[in-house]
């Protein structure tokens, strides 16, 4: 019995998301189908966490435990030959039997891409969040410091989410710009449902003057979803890396 860690890239555009469901195309199901075809037995995988419809991944992680004879280093090529074009296995590594992609995750890094121009871009439409309004990027950069460290992020979780423990630690939150593209990079020990998209939406709201920089500390402390910013759209979001010990 081997325990295999897969690192996965996918284009979320044509998926209902990561997690298998009764109807519709999901990343998990496509990978399980490919594994079952290559290993000639039913295989179930554990993802590090779900991603929503239209959300992309450059470094999603999953594991599975199975007995098989094909050399582990040949798994990516074998799987990629049967996977659809919008999923690829970047690497496969054998781990200790105890390793679990979700339970052992120490944190994650997300990237969020914004396209800021008065004209939308056909070529990047599925891969960025298009913001036509002028943004004050310096204000957005100043806003990042309020999110750093350990906070109760209850106000940055999709309403209706049932999670009880809402304290999370953000290690890093950076904004860079290149021509019309603004990139938000965030890493932390864990993220609530929609948290990255609401943080990004809040930064955009600061950038276009809808939220005052001076109010941000209070908005975060309030834990009130009605005071934080809008939820930035799914297609700008990329799961970049999952951290393990």
């Amino acid at each position: 019995m081997k325990n295999i860690k897969l690192t996965i890239e996918y284009d979320g555009t044509d998926f209902l998301g990561w997690q298998k469901q009764s109807k519709g195309r999901t990343v998990q199901e496509e990978i399980e189908k490919a594994l079952s075809k290559i290993l000639k037995k039913d295989v179930k995988i554990n993802g590090s966490g779900r991603t929503d419809a239209s959300v992309h991944a450059k470094g999603q992680v999953a594991n599975f435990r199975e007995a098989f004879t094909i050399p582990v280093e040949r798994l990516p090529v074998a799987l990629n030959s049967v996977l659809p074009d919008d999923i690829a296995i970047l690497s496969a590594i054998e781990m200790n039997y105890d390793f679990h992609a979700r339970y052992n995750a120490m944190g994650k890094k997300y990237v969020y891409k914004i396209y800021n121009s008065n004209i939308r871009s056909p070529l990047s439409r599925n891969y960025v969040y298009y913001v036509p309004q002028d943004l004050d990027i310096e204000k957005m950069k100043m806003a990042t410091k309020y999110f750093l460290g350990t906070h109760d992020f209850k106000g940055f979780m999709a309403s209706g989410s049932s999670v009880k423990e809402t304290v999370r630690t953000i290690y890093n939150l950076d904004i860079t710009e290149k021509e019309k593209q603004i990139t938000v990079e965030v890493s932390g020990n864990g993220f609530l449902y929609n948290m990255v998209r609401i943080i990004t939406g809040t930064l955009v709201d600061v950038g276009r003057g809808k939220i005052n920089l001076n109010d941000l500390e209070n908005i975060i402390a309030s834990g009130d979803r009605n005071r934080s910013g809008h939820t930035a759209s799914a297609q700008g979001l990329y799961l970049y890396e999952v951290y393990y010990k």
Copy 2:
């Protein structure tokens, strides 16, 4: 009567190409439909040239002559509101009555993107040419100099093309690399059918050792399509700019 020059970005993935045809989705037809809707009359446009299915544009140019009252500077916003997501008008400028997007074009600039890695990339699959083999980029860079200047490019035209005059001048041919992405930039006074894709295919064949650098001068001089390289795939190609006086 006004004569309007449109600059256009499109994602070629879901088009049969630029030119209108009896069946299937084309960029020209979508723009003509949008213009007819906004100007409330039938409008025909002249493109600077065709692009094939799956080929993209960051700066395709077209013109049309019509009498209308809507201010020219408002045309892009008006058109973009009715155009599909995969086309956008970047600018609209009024020209002299004589201006013609095709006849007045002095040259063009194309960009060709290659993704070179042993694992394919789902996120860029529609926007790059995926080359899994190792490429000797220094050799590819050395190869570019043989294409510069004025040559008979008969051997770099799709076979079956009926064009008689096959002499063209290449002003510039540059290769740059960043991680796994290789970008070929080429500008010239005109390009034969598939010429950029065959030049790129030839450069890739030099990079993977299928064509010898020392033979390149003879291959170009021979005018023999059987001696030049393969035709690189359409989805890596971008029409970037059309030059006018």
